[in-house]
Amino acid sequence: MCDTCGCGDPNVVSVDVHENILAVNDRTAAHNREHLDRQGILAVNLMGSPGAGKTAVLEATARALSGRRRLGVIAGDLETERDADRLRAVDVPAVAITTGTACHLDAEMVHRALHGFPTGGLDYLFVENVGNLVCPAVYDLGQAVSVVALSVTEGEDKPLKYPVMFRKADLVLLTKVDLLPHLELDVSALEAGLARVAPAASLLPLSARTAEGVSVWVDWLEARAASRPKPSGEGLGHHHEDGRGMIDAAAGSGGRSRDR
């Protein structure tokens, strides 16, 4: 019996679902998270505008952690492998996800990329999201932490204009701070705007070029990695109901994932 519009049609039924529309994505994200957690890998979803300096931050991170920690990167862009190429050039295993027209990565794209990626032995997996301050905020990828890169040339209003993105951030990296002397950026207004939308997020000034702030950023990462539960140590393999396997250890060749 229809009880919504009161039409009384006995063949019309109302079904209560109350389910997240992104339930399928969230299940895959939970699967990614479980796999990465079990291996003791800290997964970071790095988001920000195109040109915010996300890849440069990762290059600087690789330099700072060189010899101490092992990093891997999954880099999302609409086209080209350029970001992955830049990271491979600094000895970081990297795989590109070219999304074609999609404006964000979702958990399934990351999952597919992980299947061709040698995650065994990694300490950190960075997912460099598609440059965009809107859509990536909506999709959980299975990360442990979300970081937003915001460059000094983008202006102090960005957190207020894109609150959904900044609200998701555990940390905001204020990038390219070596340019501050040439700009009129009001950093305190930026901090105030961020506090309005994401009161718990902190702002960390950084320059990949001069390495200012890089050690603070790396310390932040190390503290986050250290505060996580220890990996179970059992079953580093990746389990699927359908029996597909994920590449672990050094067996992978840094395969390529394509997605629409």
Binding site: V17, H18, E19, N20, A23, C135, V138, P163, R196, A200
Partner: protein, 112 residues
């Protein structure tokens, strides 16, 4: 513009539910969209109107908007949605306690 992929996920879920009940048509869907979910209701409606086909061809979309709500993570008190977004008692930074949802609430369908 991620609304199209969200509508696709919505349509998949509704079609699955309709199939399991051998429905012949879906009359109406109710979706809750939070103010800070990152989803723009107008774009969502547009995307839905373009994706309406098959069993969803005549379905109406009803959107229920949900306001953002903030609360104190230590004492649980509600915190007003205006600056400074801190608990007046504890001084703690407020945490979002509602308004980020994107939920398929109800489907009204015609069954044989």
């Amino acid at each position: 513009m991620h609304e199209y992929s969200l509508v696709r996920a919505l349509a998949d879920r509704v079609e699955e539910e309709a199939r399991s009940r051998q429905a012949v048509a879906v009359h109406r869907l109710t979706v809750a969209i939070g103010a800070v979910s990152g989803v723009e209701p107008a774009l969502f409606e547009t995307a839905f109107s373009l994706c309406r086909e098959g069993i969803l061809a005549d379905a109406e979309l009803e959107i229920r908007r949900v306001d953002a709500a903030w609360s104190c993570p230590s004492c649980g008190r509600a915190v007003p949605s205006d600056p400074p977004l801190r608990c007046a008692v504890c001084g703690e930074a407020a945490r979002l306690s509602g308004g980020d949802e994107l939920i398929l609430e109800q489907i009204e369908m015609e069954v044989p």
